[in-house]
Symmetry: C2
Subunit: 315 residues, 2 copies
């Protein structure tokens, strides 16, 4: 019997086309078929689905499904939509993603350290005024969420001369790039010293709404915030209030609870907010396809799955 | 006879106060007196002047002057104002300046690579649109002016994954960070491959107006320009024309032929120009004062001057 095809499921038709090309090139021995093109017999046979923001009903229409490979690093929506009874989910862990995210963290840290938003505002009023330069050695950057992405970002910041501290819910092994904190007391200690707080947190029951008025009140006066994690970690009203009160200087927001960001959001027009359309670390189709191919080959060879997502923790 | 005081000459009164404090702390054995506070007898005795944008008439009022220590790295105005008969000029060569400038080059390279001006423009129209991400490995940055500042900038860009090429009027020794070019043919070759051209050139007879319509026509279509060198290296009308024609994508300008930039300049309001108020690499008073103190101590100990400026070349 020939090997069952792999189902490719994505809501965005362009994503389907791109992924089918790249994944097929990376796995010439596999047959990868977009969900819409599967016959009933193929649907009945499929064991593996590769998904990017899939319609849950399509995933549910594969009765013999054994596991799911997500093409996204963030899987909280997938977990929520498929439910706890879902098949095992493998998420994309791509070193190129960590490189790109660390680059974004450094680039937007420079954006704030070098006062780019303030100089942009000055340009609109033809104002020639030099602001006080802050050398990296005088600034502390706090990273919320200290996994593969956070530690790589800390390394880049540290090489650039910034002092770095990192926070995670549970303690992590010590690291040459950052002073590490964990738990509620650790969060308070980290926020009290950070000139810029960079959020890389996944969305979980514990992180939803974590950046609320209490959190913002614990930040240094005049500090700034970068959110490259998930939008719903922030309580928008609390952030707007902190910016209005001048407690915070600026917020760079790349992720939102609803995307695209709704036109009614006050973030769009707030002078102290930089809105980005979820571009901090775009997926690299080439490197990601090679990694997915490697995981599937290992499964074919050994029957073992790569590390899967803990659906209770959410990552 | 007690040692003659050192004259401190600067046009800006705040600069006089700041430098007097920092220089006196760095040289407790020397007497540093602002020009306005010198007696006639002291003026007659002064051998060394430390200057930051000085009034040439004040420099000329020191009959026993032996040499001048500039607190600025750029000395073309000083050379032009004092004339070829001026006393030897030592310019500030501060490793902290090279560090700060290299940081500025990387920061504003990220600004362009990460499409920050375009996303800022999108925000003003509430447009949610992801632009194509360009990994550093796919981009070449060309550095015009490959001295101490240029090679340090190349090192930072190279570490960040960019391909770097450098150009200087006369050939420089090979370097691990950049492909080096020189002369007119070398300039053409370098411009043809650079996605971003970073100007770090001093202002000399040869560099004045170098970035004209011919130069801009040799740049890659859609490339961008950063000028952290001197304003008069650019012909403003030619740059505006290249931006209007869409040949160039964006220009980041930190230096201008007249500073502050005149309010009538079209640069202020052009959507493809970022105007900065000469802030790429501000002088660090602390590190600079220590370096000046070292040069003066060496002169007191040995009678020898540090390397002085070639008034014909202008640097």
């Amino acid at each position: 019997m020939p090997q069952a095809p792999i189902a490719l499921i994505a809501r965005n038709p362009n994503a389907v086309l791109n992924w089918q090309t790249k994944l097929s090139a990376a796995m010439p021995n596999e047959t990868i078929i977009a969900f819409a093109a599967l016959s009933q017999a193929q649907k009945a046979a499929v064991e593996i689905a590769i998904v990017a923001d899939p319609d849950p009903a399509e995933v549910a229409a594969l009765p013999n499904l054994q596991w799911i490979h997500s093409l996204w690093a963030g899987v909280e929506r997938l977990v929520a939509e498929l439910g706890a009874a879902a098949k095992p989910i493998v998420r994309l862990v791509d070193p190129e993603l960590a490189r790109t995210m660390a680059e974004a963290v450094l680039a937007w840290t420079y954006y704030l350290q070098r006062d780019m938003p303030a100089y942009r505002a000055q340009q609109t009023t033809l104002e020639w005024r030099q602001r006080t330069y802050r050398p990296p050695s005088t600034m502390t950057i706090g990273i919320l969420g200290y996994g593969a992405l956070g530690s790589r970002a800390a390394e880049r910041l540290n090489q650039a001369g910034f002092t770095v501290c990192g926070w995670s819910r549970s303690p992590k092994a010590a690291d040459a790039h950052a002073q590490l904190y964990s738990g509620d007391d650790g969060l308070t200690a980290m926020l009290a010293q950070s000139d810029i707080v960079v959020c890389l947190l996944p969305l979980t029951v514990e992180t939803r709404g974590l950046i609320n008025s209490t959190f913002l009140a614990e930040m240094k006066r005049g500090a700034s915030l970068i959110n490259f994690g998930r939008g719903a970690v922030i309580v928008p009203e609390a952030l707007i209030a902190a910016l209005e009160a001048g407690r915070l200087s600026h917020a760079v927001l790349d992720v939102f609870a609803t995307e695209p960001l709704e036109t009614a959001s006050p973030f769009w027009t707030h002078p102290s907010v930089t809105v980005l359309p979820h571009i901090s670390a775009p997926t690299n189709f080439d490197t990601a396809s090679v990694i997915v191919a490697g995981n599937i080959k290992a499964y074919r060879d050994t029957g073992a799955l790569p590390k899967t997502v803990d659906v209770v923790k959410g990552y």
